[in-house]
């Protein structure tokens, strides 16, 4: 084994790698866009090389089962994190009550070059949500209802929210604090063709004072919408946000014409007729995929298990004789060796 390889597998080189990783971690605080990813990748690669060589050549590690397990666990974690970054996917989607999950509607999509998940296997329908608020507008628990369809076509109601994601086909779908109201509309053009859909208003209650949006019908000028909501919102008392119990007056503004619509009412505008069908809610979801997660967890647990095995054997083999200096007795470790190095 060359001296260079030995040095690369030494604990001294570990210290160099750790120092570099420490600098990389400090630079990565809060994920600044100006910090390139290599400040973490290079130290991690060096430490992975150091770990691999240490496991192979360092008898202080490979002859001690606990330390060996710990270092193999660490190497697995570094490797799995790398694989995770190559295969991950993150995205967001907003679903109106009654709408089915549609992979084509995902936005803010970020994914690794080896991402191989099958989004088509995610099949569920959004059913509505309830969010509890405490005094001071502090958000409490979220109950988001969905109808989940399995591969056989069977449908099962589920409730997700906060720290209870939907796990399906390796994906994790989280309901988020980004949610709101969506008036459902139907536009019937003068030639009789119609289009139905919904207009997602800004997040509620975060932007309760700005519930406005606009839409341009086929061939027509833009229509501005403003939603006046009655949700039971209380700033200083507990309340529950539940779109199906809320009412909303839709203020339609086009070319200076301002009309208030209640659900079920219509308005004739240049180019067609606008029907305000009903008021719905929409929920923003975060979609996350990383196939390495269970393996990362197992590796981490095995690593800690290795540490405890090592400590158990070490402490058992070298118990400390804790006698006071004034006792005048020999003051050393009971194994009568010089002080053993801890690792």
């Amino acid at each position: 084994m060359s001296r260079r390889l030995k040095w690369l597998g030494s604990t001294r080189f570990t210290l160099v790698g750790m120092a570099l990783l420490g600098v990389g971690a400090a630079l990565s605080y809060d994920n600044p866009v100006t910090t390139p990813v290599w400040v973490l990748v290079i130290p991690l690669l060096l430490l992975a090389l150091n770990l691999l060589l240490a496991i192979i050549i360092n008898p202080a590690i490979n002859r001690r089962p606990g330390l060996l397990l710990f270092h193999v666990g660490l190497l697995s974690i570094v490797s799995l994190v790398a694989v995770g970054r190559l295969t991950f996917m993150e995205a967001h989607i907003e679903l109106v009550d009654g709408a089915a999950f549609d992979p084509d509607s995902l936005f803010d999509v970020r994914q690794g070059p080896w991402h191989g998940g099958d989004l088509e296997r995610i099949r569920f329908i959004q059913q509505g949500y309830t969010v509890e608020y405490r005094p001071g507008m502090k958000r409490g628990l979220t109950y988001n209802h969905i109808l989940l369809a399995d591969d056989k076509g069977l449908v099962e109601p589920r409730v997700i929210g906060d720290d209870r994601p939907l796990l399906v086909a390796g994906y994790r779908l989280y309901s988020t604090s980004n949610k709101g109201f969506a008036p459902r509309l139907t536009w019937v053009a003068e030639d009789g063709t119609s289009v139905s859909g919904s207009i997602n208003m800004p997040s509620y209650p975060l932007l309760y004072f700005r519930q406005a949006n606009e839409w341009t019908p086929p061939g027509g000028p833009a229509i501005k919408f403003w939603l006046q909501l009655e949700t039971g919102l209380k700033e200083d008392a507990a309340w529950v946000l539940q779109p199906e119990r809320a009412t909303g007056t839709l203020v339609v503004n086009q070319a200076g014409q301002r009309v208030e619509l209640q659900p079920g009412e219509s308005l004739t505008l240049p180019g067609g007729t606008l029907h305000y069908d009903q008021l719905s809610g929409w929920m923003g979801f975060k979609v996350f995929y990383d196939p390495t997660l269970p393996f990362l967890f197992i590796s981490a647990i095995l690593a800690v298990l290795g540490l405890f095995i090592h400590y158990w054997r070490k402490f058992k083999a070298e118990p400390l004789l804790l006698k006071s200096e004034s006792d005048g007795q020999s003051l050393s470790l009971s194994s009568a060796k010089t002080v053993q190095v801890d690792r």
Binding site: S10, T14, D30, K138, K323, S324, E325, L333, D342
Partner: protein, 277 residues
């Protein structure tokens, strides 16, 4: 704030334990050994009382607010005073040869004790993402980590103070430097394992709560740097045969870093964990 009387009573008990630990080193005409044994029992009893009262304070607040001490700084300080007290008292009871280390450990505990007295005892609301079993594991492992850091650094403090003639008499009843050094590092080894467990439990909780297991937020970055620093210190001790007193300084640096990670993050970050609410 019905928990405050319990808290003040607990702090009084900690204060008396500290006072009697120091009373033990005062000059005496005769019967030092008898007084020493009596004082140690008294300190142990006072520490047990303080821990019991702290538990009552936490329980009272828990019942009143309906959630554990996980959210604001006042709660974190209270719960740390309890957990550090529990583990320190256990070690004080089970390892008599280390009891004189209380002269260093208890004043360290008093940093928290003084702090909790000067901050507003505000009520808190449990964020929705805190209704998760992994939070308990994460916080629990963190408390064990910090407790073993306290134990290790109090022994490191003994090693450093023994250099001065003024303090040599204080710690004469303790084992030789070599033994204290070995024990201090064993405490740090245990701290390292629990720090690792804390990071794992925190990552699992973060994945459930915020849809990511790591995001380099203030606490994550700081605690990872702390883990690296402790890991590097353990490696340095192997690689460079670090002298005992330099090792003692390293242990104290790790403890100080851990202290700022736990209690400093709220000062330089709006929310300790990204997306906490």
């Amino acid at each position: 704030m019905t928990e405050l009387p319990w808290l003040y009573a607990a702090l009084t008990a900690y204060g008396l334990a500290t006072a009697f630990a120091y009373y033990d080193i005062m000059p005496v005409r005769g019967g030092r050994v008898a007084r020493h044994a009596y004082n140690e029992r008294l300190v142990l009893l006072l520490l047990l009382t303080a821990v019991g009262l702290m538990m009552a304070a936490l329980g009272e607040r828990w019942l009143r607010l309906g959630h554990g001490p996980f959210v604001n700084l006042f709660e974190l300080l209270m719960s740390q005073l309890f957990s550090l007290g529990v583990i320190y008292t256990l070690v004080y009871w089970r390892v008599p040869a280390m009891r004189r280390g209380a002269l260093v450990a208890l004043p360290m505990l008093w940093i928290l004790g003084s702090w909790v007295l000067v901050i507003e005892p505000m009520d808190s609301v449990l964020p929705p993402t805190y209704h998760n079993d992994w939070l308990w594991a994460h916080v629990g492992f963190g408390k064990v980590f910090l407790s073993f850091c306290l134990l290790g650094s109090s022994l490191a403090g003994v090693l450093l103070l023994r250099r001065w003639p003024l303090f040599q008499g204080w710690f004469r009843v303790m084992p030789a430097d070599k033994v204290i050094d070995a024990l201090a590092w064993r405490f740090m080894l245990i701290a390292f394992a629990f720090h690792t467990l804390m990071l794992i439990a925190g990552a699992v909780w973060a994945q459930d709560a915020w849809g990511r297991y790591w995001a380099w937020d203030a606490l994550e970055t700081s605690s990872f740097l702390n883990w690296l620093l402790l890991g590097a210190s353990l490696h340095a001790r192997v690689s460079y045969k670090v002298p005992m007193r330099v090792g003692a300084v390293l242990i104290i640096v790790v403890f100080v870093f851990a202290f700022f990670t736990y209690f400093g993050a709220p000062f330089y970050s709006e929310a300790a964990h990204k997306g906490v609410i």
